[in-house]
C-alpha cells in the first residue's frame, strides 16, 4: 500500500514535470507552410523552395523573453522546379548537401512591434557559416492555426552559396530574398 502510494507520488511528480511542456506544445503544420527564395540570374528572377523543414517553437506573446524559435531546413529538398538545375544544387559549389545537410535558424531574442508584428533576432547557419540576422515576422491567427509570415534578404556569397566560377555576381546576383509562411498549432492568443 505504502509502495503504491510512493509510486503514485512519483508518477504525479513526473507528470507535473511534463505537463507545462505538453501545455506549451506548439507544432509546425508542414502542409500549410512554405519556405521559398528568389534570386536574380542576369536580371531574370528565379524562384526556388525547400520542401522539407521543421520548427521547434515555444512562443508566448506575453513572455517573449523566454520564447524561442528554432528552424531546421533539409537542404537537399531545395528545388528550382527545373530538373537540370536541381541536379546542381546539392553539389559542392552550391549547397554541398553531403557535408552540410541542414540549414538552421535559432532565435536569440524576440521583440514585439505591436499589431502582430515581431522582430526575431537570431543566428542563421547555412553551409557551415553562421550569421546574425533580424527577421521581421507578421503573425496572424485563424481558429487554432497561427501563421507567421516574413521576408528577409541574405547575401549568398557570405554563406558561400555559389563558389568559384559561380561567385560572379553579374551572373547570379548576391542578394537572395527568403520568404516564409509558417503555420503553427498550439500557439496561445497573441
Amino acid at each position: 500500500m505504502k509502495l503504491k502510494l510512493t509510486f503514485l507520488t512519483i508518477l504525479a511528480a513526473v507528470a507535473s514535470l511534463f505537463s507545462p511542456a505538453v501545455f506549451a506544445q506548439q507544432k509546425l503544420l508542414a502542409n500549410q507552410s512554405d519556405v521559398s527564395f528568389t534570386f536574380k540570374q542576369m536580371g531574370v528572377p528565379v524562384d526556388g523552395k525547400f520542401t522539407k523543414f521543421d520548427a521547434q517553437i515555444n512562443f508566448d506573446a506575453s513572455k517573449l523573453a523566454t520564447s524561442k524559435v528554432a528552424f531546421t531546413i533539409d537542404i537537399a529538398s531545395a528545388t528550382l522546379g527545373d530538373k537540370a538545375t536541381d541536379a546542381e544544387l546539392p553539389k559542392a559549389p552550391w549547397f554541398n548537401t553531403a557535408k552540410f545537410p541542414q540549414a538552421t535558424f535559432a532565435s536569440n531574442s524576440i521583440k514585439s512591434l505591436g499589431g502582430g508584428k515581431f522582430e526575431v533576432m537570431g543566428k542563421l547557419s547555412i553551409k557551415g557559416v553562421s550569421q546574425d540576422v533580424t527577421v521581421p515576422v507578421v503573425m496572424t491567427q485563424a481558429g487554432a492555426v497561427t501563421t507567421a509570415t516574413g521576408t528577409f534578404a541574405i547575401k549568398r556569397l557570405i554563406f558561400k552559396i555559389g563558389e568559384n566560377e559561380w561567385s560572379d555576381t553579374s551572373m547570379v546576383a548576391d542578394p537572395v530574398q527568403v520568404k516564409f509562411k509558417i503555420a503553427l498549432s498550439g500557439v496561445g492568443k497573441l
Partner: protein, 226 residues
Amino acid sequence: MHLFALVGFYTSSLSIAIGHEFAKKTTLKTAPESNLSNSQPPQALSHTSYSTVAIVLHWFLGLSIFAMFALGVYMHELPFSPERLKLYNYHKWAGICFLFLTVLRLLWRFTHRPPALPAAIEQVMPTWQTRIYHATHHVMYLLFFAVPLLGWAYSSAAGFPIVLFGVLPLPDLLTVDKEFAKLIKELHEVSAIALMALALLHIAAALKHQFIDKDNLVSRMLPKRH
C-alpha cells in the same frame, strides 16, 4: 565562348570579303572591257536596286540568323555553367532584337516597295522556280516571326522569362508549364532548322544567278556605287 567569338569574327570577315568580291564583279561587268557577250548592252545588267535601309537590314539580319543558329546549337550542348546561362541570355536578347528589327523591316517593305524581279529574268524563269522564289520569301518572313516568338514562348513556359539586356523584363507569352515547354522547344528547334534550310536555298539561288546565269541579280542587294 572564345571559340564562338572566333567563329563570329571569322564569319563576319568572310562575309565582308565575299561582299568585296561581288562588288569587284559588279564593277568589272559594267566596265567596257567586260568579257560579256557584246549582244547584251551593259544596261541590261544594272537593275533597280533595293533601298539602302532594306539592304542594310537584309545583310545584318541575314548574318544574325546564322550567328544565332550557331549560338543556339553550341549553347544547348554545354554543361550547366555560367557560360551556358550567359549564352542563353545573349541568344534570347539577340532574338528579341531580331524580332524588333524584323517588324521595322516589314513596315519598311510595306511603305517602300522592293523592286520587282527584272522582266528579262522573270521571262526566262520556269513557273516552278517563280513559285518557289515567292514561297521561299513568304515562308522566310513567316519564320522570321515564328522562330523568335517560339523561343520567347519557350522561355515563358519554362519559367525563365526574358529580361532584355538584364534590365527590361518582357511579358510572358505563356504561363509556366514545363511539359508544354518541351513541345515549344521542339517547335523552336524545327522552325529554326527550317529557316536555315530556306536561307541556304536563298543563298544557293543568289549564287546560281551570279555564277551560272551571270545576270548580276545580286547587285540589287549590294551597296550602291556612284
